[in-house]
Symmetry: none
DNA sequence: AATGAATGAGTGTTCATTCAT
DNA sequence: TATGAATGAACACTCATTCAT
C-alpha cells in the first residue's frame, strides 16, 4: 500500500523499459525541471509546470520518475555530474602540472558559468533530498574536488608548488569556483569569467608556486592572455 | 500570487502597537522559526509548527507578522544582522591592522559556527523572498563584507600587506568563513574552528603580508597559539 | 516524512482537543459518510462529497480524521456498535430465556432494518480497512454474536431448548438477521420485518425447543401477535 | 459519470470477432481479474495489474472488454455461473430427494470452498456494477437458489419433509452455504467443510424431516460418514 | 491581546482509457 | 491482432490564512 523504499538510493524507477527512450524522455523532462527549479525553486515549481515546460503530460512524468523527489535528485545529479564529466576532457593533452591546475580552475568556472542557476539550485535544494540521496550528491561533488586535488598534488610533487595544506587549498579553489555562481551579483559587470579566473589564480595559485612554478605560469599567461579570450 | 507589496520593502506590519511587546513576541516567534526553518527548511515548516515551537497560538503569529514571507524575511534579517553586529565588538581594543584582520576572520567563523544551520538557511532561502526584500538581505551581507574590507585596506595602507585585488580577496575571505557552515561535513572532525581559521590565515592572509605584516602575524600567533585556545 | 502508524489500531487522531466538539463534529461527518458510502460505496465517494453532505469544508474533515481510512473505520465501528449497544436495552425486563432469545432476534432484525444500507456497507468494505482495524470490527461483531449466544445458552440451561451445536446455531441466527439486509430485495414486499422474524423463529428456534420451551413460545406469541405489531 | 448504456445489459463488446479467440482471451484475462479482485478488491486492482497477471498487454484487454466495469461484470458472472453449472452434475444419478438435498448443500459448500475469495468478491462488488447488470447477477443467484428449492420441494412432495416455508428455508440454506465464505474466519480451524455441512444438515434439514425422511438421512449418513471423507 | 477552529485553493499522484505503431 | 507509451481528469490531502469568540 505504501510506496516501498526500494533498492539502492540512487536508483530511480521507470515504468518504461526501453533504455534509449528512458534516457531521451528523462533528459527532456529534466531540462524543463532544472530550468524551472532554478528560476522558482523546487517547492514552488509544480509538476504541472514541469509537464507544460517539457511539452508532455503530467502522467508521462510519472512513467519516468517515481515522484517529485526523484526529479530533484536526478536534476542535481545531472548538474553535479556535468562538472565531473566536463572537466577532464578540457585537461586532455595538457601536460604541465601548473597549466593543468590553472586550466582546471578555468574549466570549472566556465562550466559553472553555463550552469550558474543550476549550481545555486544544488546549493539550495540538496538538503531537500532524502538523506541517502543527499549523500550521493555529496559524493559527486567529492569526485569533482578530487580532480582539483590531483592537479594540486601534481604541482607539489613536480616541485612547482611549495608544500601546503592541500585539502584546505582545494576547498578554497572549490569555493572560488562556486562563488562565481553563488555571488554572481557581486562579480557580474565587474569581471568576465576570464578575468575572474585570472584574478583567482593571482590570489589562490601564484602565492604557492615555486620559482619553477612561476615560470610555468608566466609561460601560460603569455600564451593565453589571462584566459580573457572569450 | 504574491500579495500586494505595501509600503517599504523592509517594513513588516503588526496589528499590535506597543513596540516593546512587538519586539518581545517577534523575538519569541522568530527564534522558533529560525530553529525549524534551519532543521527542515522553509517550505516544509508550517505555521502550525512554528506556533507550537514558540508556545503561542496560530492567530497570534498573524498579529505580529503579515504572512509567512514576513517571518522568513525577519528570520534571515536576524541572522545576517547577527554577523554585522557581533563582529565589531570582537574587534574593540585591537589596534594592529593585521591582528584586526585575523581576529575579524576568527570572529566571523565562530559566529557562523554558532549559527551554522541558520547560515545555510540564508543561502537556501534568501532567493525565496520577494525580490525587494532579497536585496535588503544582500545589503546586510554587504555591510558585513565591508567590515572585512576595512581590515584589508588598513593592512595595505599600513604597509603590512602588499597591494592586492582587495575586492576579490575579501570575497575569498567571505567564502572561507561561509564554507565553515556550507561545507561543514567536509571539515567536521578534521578541524576545530580554531584550526580552521589558522589554516585559512596561512593560505589566505600570510602570502599577502609584507615583512612587517609577517612580523605582526608571528607576534599574534605567539600570543594566541593559533586560535586553538577554544 | 511518512505518516507514522501511531499507537493502537483503533485510535483515530484529531487535531481538535475539546472532546465534546470532537464527538459532535465526528458524528456530523460520519452520518454523511455512512449515507454516501452506503449509497455509492467507499471508493466512489469522495471527501469532497462527504464535506458537502455534512455541510463542512474539506479541511475540517482532516481536523477530525487522519485520512479516508479513518472515516471508513469509524463509520463501520459506529454501525457495529449500534447492534451491540441497542440490543441489550431491548432485552431489559424480559426474564424468560425463550422470550429473550426471540426478542433478541426481533431486536437485531429491526436494528438492521434501520441500518440496512449500513449493514451491507460493513459486509462490503470491512475488507478495505487496514488489517488491524478489520480485526477490531470483527471483534465488535463477535461481541454482538455473544449476546445471542447467551440467550441460546440460557434456553438450553433452563431446559427450554434441547442440546444443540450452539456455535453453529448462533451463526445461523446471525446470518438470518444479516440476510434481512443482504438479501433485502428477496424479502422486500414479501415480508414485513415482523413476519420475517416470525418465520425465522418457526424455522430456527421452534424445532429446537423442548416441551417447556414450546409452551413459553406459545405464550409469547399470544401476547405479541407474531411480532407483526409494527 | 457512467458510460452510455449501449445495447442489452449483458452484452460485452469485443473488437475481435473470432468467437473462439474471444472466449480464450477473455478466459485468460478473467482468471487474472478474479484472482486480483479477490485478493485486493475491485477498485484497488488496476488494469495494469490485470494485464501483467494475465501476461498480456494493456491494449489487448481493451480489445476484449469495453471497460473495467465489463471485466467486473464478467468476473462475477463467471463466479455465479460456476455455482449454477457445477451443482447439477454433482446431483446426477442421485435419486432420493433427501439425499439430493443433502448432496446439493454439500456440493454448494465445496464449490464455494474452492471459490471462497471469489464468493466474497461477489458480495462486495455486485453493487458496484451498473444497475442493469447487477440484476443479471442476481438472476444467476436466483437460478442457483432454484436448484435448492427444487430439492426442498421434492422432499416435501415425497413426504420426506413436513410442510415448511420453502422460500425462507431455501434462503437459510443459501446463507448457510455463503457463510462458509463470508464468515470463514469463524469456521476455519473449527470445522472442515464436511463437518460444516454435517452440522448444517443437523440444524437446517433434520428438524424438518418426517420419519421417512429421517430414515433416508440415516441411510445416507451410514454411507457417507457425515461428508467427512475429504 | 490572544485563541484555535474553520476554510478551500492548490498540490502531488493515480489510473482508466486511447491510439500510433 | 497486439503493444505499451501517452494522456489528463479526478482524487486525497495540506496548510497559509481568516475570524468569531
Amino acid at each position: 500500500m505504501r510506496k516501498e523504499e526500494t533498492g539502492s538510493p540512487g536508483h530511480v524507477e521507470s515504468l518504461v523499459t526501453d533504455p534509449k527512450r528512458v534516457a531521451e524522455r528523462r533528459g527532456q523532462i529534466l531540462r524543463a525541471a532544472v530550468k524551472l527549479f532554478s528560476e522558482k525553486g523546487y517547492y514552488t515549481t509544480t509538476i504541472q509546470q514541469i509537464a507544460k515546460e517539457a511539452g508532455v503530460s503530467i502522467g508521462l512524468i510519472y512513467q519516468y520518475f517515481g515522484d517529485k523527489d526523484d526529479i530533484l535528485f536526478l536534476s542535481l545529479k545531472l548538474v553535479i555530474e556535468t562538472y565531473e564529466h566536463e572537466i577532464p576532457p578540457r585537461l586532455e593533452g595538457i601536460e604541465h602540472p601548473v597549466e593543468r591546475l590553472c586550466v582546471a580552475l578555468w574549466a570549472y568556472c566556465t562550466i559553472i558559468d553555463g550552469l550558474r542557476e543550476a549550481t545555486v539550485l544544488a546549493y539550495r535544494f540538496t538538503k531537500s533530498l532524502r538523506a541517502d540521496r543527499r549523500d550521493l550528491i555529496k559524493e559527486g561533488e567529492f569526485r569533482t574536488n578530487r580532480l582539483l586535488e590531483n592537479c594540486v598534488r601534481a604541482c607539489i610533487d613536480g616541485g612547482f608548488m611549495r608544500p601546503v595544506n592541500e585539502y584546505m587549498l582545494v576547498y578554497q579553489y572549490v569555493m572560488f569556483c562556486h562563488a562565481w555562481a553563488l555571488k554572481h551579483w557581486a562579480f557580474q559587470g565587474r569581471y568576465t569569467p576570464g578575468q575572474y579566473v585570472a584574478e583567482g589564480i593571482r590570489i589562490l595559485v601564484e602565492p604557492f608556486l615555486t620559482k619553477k612554478g612561476l615560470a610555468a605560469l608566466a609561460a601560460l599567461r603569455r600564451r593565453t592572455a589571462d584566459f580573457t579570450h572569450e
